[in-house]
């Protein structure tokens, strides 16, 4: 394991799990994420840490993480010297949360080279382990997270009790500390206006439905995150089963709706929508982030349903990421005004998707 020096840029672009466009149900389920909340004994939880304790904790944890012997090969990225733009880039790649990006405390993230494993240090919990797997693969993501967790439990004195399991600052994470979420692309449910019914149903069985970037974020481009809310009183296997069952139903619902959208008189309207989106991406000179996401969503749908060809799902996923404000400005290596940003976005999307200039 290596430890990056202060001032180092975060690792260069590698396609994380959510960009690969592979895995079970990958036409609808973009990726699966396991998140584990863990805290150290002998320290207050992060929100109550005094400044010197915060530093002490951060140094202690990152030193242990850098000692090696973990089942993952991780690089520690210290966030203190990382500027706002680079932090945004890390958020857009789902490696850190928006809360950690905004944090003034000593904080960082240990990431593997493929960006499928990330351990946030000094977030709301002292450690937040994240493991990503492409498509709908809760079991795969869980096994990898469990192995890493086992190794960390042997190296760090974690706070836990027989009664409450893993102790966390927020009672919504107490117990397993496990949040299992699946990122879903649900254009069919949005277009057919069934999405509210679908999210209400999910909420009734204690699943949270959120936007692409988690809590409080809007569902942009028909992308949603579905995750368990209960972490206490259900074990890890039950939580996986709950999520798998509910997501399985949502995926089936989405498939049924897509089939209906491609049948009879609805078909031509759906085709029109997909081709208009493609036309916009190919020809537009100014594209806002929101319009770009809408178009990319429609084109992704068209690609998955074989309505159009010429590029693969991975390219569309990549375009989705690169059109986000942080990545866009990083790509052009300058801070851009919104108008310039929209112009560059249109240009960049044409490049990524291989359209005519």
């Amino acid at each position: 394991m290596s430890k990056s020096k202060k001032g180092d840029k975060p690792p260069e672009f590698r396609p994380g799990a959510w960009l690969q466009g592979t895995g079970p149900e990958h036409d609808i389920a973009i990726c699966t994420r396991v998140r584990l909340a863990r805290n150290l004994r002998g320290f207050p939880f992060s929100p109550c840490l005094a400044d010197h304790e915060s530093r002490q904790l951060y140094d202690f944890v990152t030193t242990r993480l850098a000692q090696g012997g973990l089942p993952e090969n991780l690089t520690v990225v210290h966030l203190e010297p990382v500027d706002e733009l680079e932090r945004t880039v890390l958020v857009e790649r789902h490696l850190i949360s928006r809360e950690l990006a905004a944090s003034k405390r000593p904080s960082g993230v240990a990431v593997d080279a493929d960006e499928n494993v990330a351990i946030m240090v000094n977030e709301e919990d002292h450690l937040r382990l994240q493991v990503f797997a492409p498509g709908l693969q809760p079991g795969e993501a869980w096994r990898r997270a469990e192995r890493l967790d086992d190794a960390l439990l042997q190296r760090l004195p974690m706070a836990w009790s027989e009664e409450f399991g893993f102790l966390t600052s927020c009672p919504t994470n107490t117990g397993t500390g496990l949040r299992l979420s699946v990122m879903l692309h649900l254009p069919g449910l949005v277009w057919s206006e069934d999405i509210d019914k679908a999210t209400n149903t999910a909420q009734k069985i204690h699943l949270a439905v959120r936007g692409l970037y988690g809590e409080g974020s809007r569902a942009l481009g028909d992308f949603y995150q579905v995750s368990n809310q209960v972490t206490l009183g259900r074990d890890e296997q039950q939580i996986q089963n709950d999520v798998l069952l509910a997501v399985g139903r949502l995926v089936q619902w989405e498939r049924d709706v897509r089939a209906a959208l491609l049948r009879g008189s609805a078909r031509v309207r759906t085709l029109d929508r997909v081709h208009r989106a493609l036309g916009t991406l190919e020809r537009a000179q100014i594209l806002t982030s929101e319009e770009a996401l809408g178009c990319l969503s429609a084109v992704r749908f068209g690609r998955e349903e074989d309505l159009i060809d010429g590029f693969d799902t991975a390219a569309i996923n990549r375009a989705l990421l690169l059109s986000q404000p942080g990545h866009l400005q990083r790509h052009t290596r300058e801070v851009l005004k919104p108008e310039e940003r929209d112009q560059r976005r249109a240009q960049l999307l044409r490049e990524v998707l291989g359209c005519a200039p």
Partner: protein
């Protein structure tokens, strides 16, 4: 009883003596009111009334209750802070705010007890027991020792801290 030489009405409670060359050369007996008026006595503080006593004791009682039952001994978080922020301050808060926490857990999870995996025998940390306290205590004592430049003591505390952090198995 001698009466005040100034007003001749009230009993004299203040005696002013003229002292020259270590012997008393004259004296004046005054009552409190006259002595204050002449600027030779400072006003007496009002007597403790039952009300002020009650107020003070009440305050102490309340403060005691606040530190004993409301604030967590591990992190000083009060129950009011927990209620307003919805975040616990440290592992010990789980016991301190148990009464508040249990119904909350029931509402969120429809359960109050963990059924998932636990670190078990391989864990670096034993389940939180009596030494949960000693860990933070030792850390505090270590900081004090370093600040007081008592390095020998600090070194042994550091070793103790390492041993505690490592836990019983490694």
């Amino acid at each position: 009883m001698q009466y005040c030489t100034a007003c001749q009405k009230a009993p004299a409670t203040v005696v002013i003596m003229d002292v020259a060359e270590l012997s008393v050369t004259g004296s004046q007996h005054l009552c409190q009111a006259c002595a204050e008026q002449l600027g030779v006595a400072t006003p007496k503080t009002p007597k403790f009334s039952a009300d002020t006593l009650e107020m003070l004791l009440g305050g102490i009682k309340q403060a005691k209750r606040a530190t004993r039952a409301e604030a967590c001994p591990g992190c000083n978080l009060t129950v009011a802070e927990f209620r307003s922020k919805g975040r616990l301050g440290c592992p010990r808060c789980y016991e301190t705010f148990r009464a508040e926490l249990m119904p909350l857990l029931q509402r969120i999870h429809e359960a109050q007890t963990h059924t998932g995996r636990l670190p078990g025998v391989f864990a670096a940390a034993a389940p939180p027991a009596a030494d949960e306290r000693s860990l933070s205590d030792v850390r505090k004592r270590l900081e004090e020792a370093v600040r007081g430049e008592r390095y020998e003591e600090a070194a042994s505390l550091r070793d103790e801290l390492r041993r505690l952090e490592r836990g019983p198995t490694t």
